[in-house]
Amino acid sequence: MSIDQHVLPGPEPVLNLPACHREEDEYEMVYHKPATMVDTAMHYCPGCAHSLVHKLIMEVVEEMDIQEQTVGVAPVGCSVFAYDYMDIDMQEAAHGRACAVATGIKRLMPDKYVFTYQGDGDLAAIGIAETLHAINRGENILIVFVNNAVYGMTSGQMAPTTLPGMHTTTSPDGRDVSYYGAPIKVSELMSNLPGSFYVTRQAVHNPNAVRRTKKALQNAFKYQQLHKGTCLVEIIGNCPSNWKMTPVEAAKFIDEEMVKTFPLGDIKVPNAEDLKIF
C-alpha cells in the first residue's frame, strides 16, 4: 500500500486505529467525606449514630458553603468532643445549657448559622427548661437532637426517652412507667410551642433514612435564613455499646421497637407562604 492510501477521504483526517485505542469507563467521584470534617479518627464506638450525624451536618455546611458563617454548640455526653471533628467555630456548653449558650451567640450574631447538638439527657432532662424556653422564644437556631434512649457517655443509665421496659443500668428490671413515667416525646411536645418553625423526627439506621435526615438538615439550615423560629431535628440514633447489641442488631431494634414510641416523619412543617422566597 502506498502512503496515500492511509489518508482517508473528507476535509479532516480522522484517527481510526481500533487496535491502538480502547474505550475506558470514566469514573467520577460521587461521594467523599466532607472537607468540613477534621481529618482525624473519631472516638465514637463502631456503628455509633453520632459520627454519622456529624458527617451529615458537615456535608450540609460544605454544600451550602457556610463554613465561615456557622457556629455550633457541643453538649456534654458522648458528643462532647464534637468540636474535635467539625471544622467550624464551636463552643462547649455545660450539661443541658446548649440552647442558652446558642441564644447568647445568635442574639449577638443574628446572621450566622447557629446550631446546637444535643443528646437526650442534655436536651430533655437537665436542659429541658433551656430547650423549651429557647424554642418558645422562637430563637432562630437549629437544634439537632440525637435520641438514643440512654445516657451513653456515662455508660448506659436511663434517659427521659428510654422505652418502657427497656433495661438500663438505672432501670435494671426495665423502665417502670409507674415509677418513672413514660418516655418524653420531645418533638411532639415542642411542636406545640408557637416559636417552633420546623420539627421533624428522622433516623439514620438505613440508607433511605440517612437520605431523609440529610434532607431534613438541609431544610433546617436553609430555614434559618427566614428568621421565623426554631428548627428542631430529632434523630433516632443507636447506642450499640449500651444497648448491648451489634450495630446491625441496633438498626433492627430501631426499625422494630424505637419507631413504635417515636414515629418518624415531619411533625410540624412551615406553610407555603413562609417558604415563598426559596
Binding site: 463554613q67 465561615e68 458563617q69 456557622t70 457556629v71 454548640v73 457541643a74 462532647v80 468540636y83 471544622d87 467550624i88 467555630d89 464551636m90 463552643q91 462547649e92 456548653a93 455545660a94 445549657r97 442558652a100 449558650v101 446558642a102 441564644t103 447568647g104 451567640i105 442574639r107 449577638l108 450574631m109 450566622k112 427548661a129 433551656e130 424556653h133
Partner: protein, 356 residues
C-alpha cells in the same frame, strides 16, 4: 454626662453598663436588684444592644457564656440565691477563660434568707463558689459612685485577663440613692480573633471554647496557666483605700457597706481619743495581704467589721500572721450595726487585750 445625677445604686450600675459599651445583658429578676434588668430593658434597645430576661439565672449565665465566647462584652447581675445558681456557669466561664462581668447584690442568707443587705457571700465570691481551681477578680463598691465606676473597671480587667470579674455590692448600696457622675469612657479595642467563635474563615484554624481537657497532663498544664494568670492579677491589681492610718494605733478592716459605717465609727472613736484608722479593701480578690501585714507592725489591734458571721476576718488573720490580735464584729440577717455599737465593742476589746 458630666453633671451629677441622683440615682439608685442599681440604676447607676445599669447606666454605666450602657456607657461602657456592654453589648448584651442577660438577667433574671430577684430582689434587691431587679431594677438593673428593668432599667436596661428600657434603655438598651435605644442603643441597639441586647437585653434579655432569661428563664432563670442558670440560663442567664449560660447566655453570658455564649455571648462572651463569641467575643462580645456581656454581663449579668443577680443576688445571693441567684448567684448560687450561676456557680456552675461561672466555673465554666473561668475554665474557658472568657471575659464577663457578674454583679452580686448581696442579701442575707443562707437559703432564701431575706431581702435585706448582707455580706455573707464573701467566701463564695473570693474562695471559689463554683467547683475547681479558679478565682474571680472581686470588686467591692462602697457607694453609688463606685457601683458605676467599677463597671468600667470590671469590664476592662475582665478583657485584660480573660477572666470573669465579680462586683460584690449589697442590698443597701444597690437600693440607696446618692449623687453620681459618669466619667467619660472609651471602650478599649481588644483583639479577640485568636479565640472568639465568630465563624471560621479560611485564613485561620477553627476556634473553640471549652473548659474540657480530658488528658490529665493537658488539664494540669491548663491549671498552671490559670495560676500564672492569677499570680499576675495578685501582683498588679490589688486596690484598697486607707483612712487615718498614718498615726493609727488600731485598725478597722471593712469593705462595702460596713466600711461606710466604720468611717462614722472611726470619727466617733477619734473624738474619744482612740487613734483608729480604716483599711477598706476595694479588691477582695486579690486581697491586700501585703498592706495589712505592714500595718500589723504599726497597730496594736485590728477589728474586722462585717455583715456576716466572720468571713473576711479569716483573710485579715492570714495577712497579719499572728503579729497582732485580730477581732471580729458582725451582724447578720440583714441587721446593720450602728457606729455606736461598733465603738462600744472596740472599747471592750481594747480593755480586754490591755492595749490602752
Amino acid at each position: 454626662m458630666t453633671e451629677f445625677k441622683l440615682m439608685k445604686g442599681n440604676e447607676a450600675m445599669a447606666e454605666a453598663a450602657i456607657l461602657a459599651g456592654c453589648d448584651a445583658y442577660f438577667g433574671y429578676p430577684i430582689t434587691p436588684q431587679s431594677e438593673v434588668l428593668e432599667y436596661l430593658a428600657r434603655e438598651m434597645p435605644k442603643h441597639n444592644r441586647i437585653v434579655m430576661q432569661a428563664e432563670s439565672e442558670v440560663a442567664s449565665i449560660n447566655m453570658v457564656y455564649g455571648a462572651a465566647g463569641a467575643g462580645f462584652r456581656t454581663m449579668t447581675s443577680s443576688s445571693s440565691p441567684g448567684i448560687s445558681l450561676m456557680q456552675e456557669g461561672i466555673s465554666y466561664i473561668a475554665g474557658a477563660e472568657l471575659p464577663c462581668l457578674i454583679v452580686n447584690v448581696n442579701r442575707a442568707g443562707p437559703g432564701l434568707g431575706t431581702i435585706q443587705p448582707g455580706q455573707g457571700d464573701y467566701f463564695q465570691s473570693t474562695k471559689g463558689g463554683g467547683h475547681g481551681d479558679y478565682r474571680m477578680i472581686v470588686l467591692a463598691p462602697a457607694s453609688v459612685q463606685e457601683m458605676a465606676d467599677f463597671v468600667y473597671l470590671g469590664f476592662d480587667l475582665a478583657e485584660k485577663y480573660r477572666n470573669p470579674v465579680l462586683m460584690l455590692s449589697d442590698g443597701a448600696i444597690g437600693q440607696m440613692m446618692e449623687k453620681v457622675k459618669f466619667k467619660p469612657y472609651t471602650r478599649p479595642e481588644v483583639d479577640k480573633s485568636g479565640w472568639a467563635t465568630t465563624g471560621k474563615p479560611k485564613t485561620r484554624k477553627r476556634n473553640y471554647i471549652t473548659s474540657l481537657h480530658i488528658l490529665p497532663e493537658k488539664m494540669e498544664e491548663h491549671n498552671r496557666h490559670l495560676e500564672e494568670k492569677f499570680k499576675k492579677i495578685r501582683e498588679n491589681e490589688v486596690r484598697f483605700e486607707e483612712y487615718n492610718t498614718a498615726d493609727a494605733e488600731f485598725l478597722f478592716v471593712a469593705y462595702g457597706l460596713s466600711a461606710r459605717i466604720c468611717q462614722k465609727a472611726m470619727d466617733m472613736a477619734r473624738q474619744k481619743g482612740i487613734k483608729i484608722g480604716l483599711l477598706r479593701p476595694i479588691t477582695l480578690y486579690p486581697y491586700p495581704y501585703q498592706r495589712l501585714n505592714e500595718l500589723a507592725s504599726q497597730v496594736k489591734l485590728m477589728l474586722s467589721v462585717e455583715l456576716n458571721s466572720g468571713q473576711m476576718v479569716e483573710d485579715v488573720r492570714l495577712a497579719v500572721n499572728g503579729k497582732v490580735p485580730v477581732e471580729f464584729y458582725g451582724r447578720m440577717g440583714g441587721m446593720m450595726p450602728t457606729p455606736e455599737e461598733i465603738v462600744h465593742h472596740l472599747e471592750t476589746l481594747i480593755q480586754y487585750h490591755h492595749v490602752n
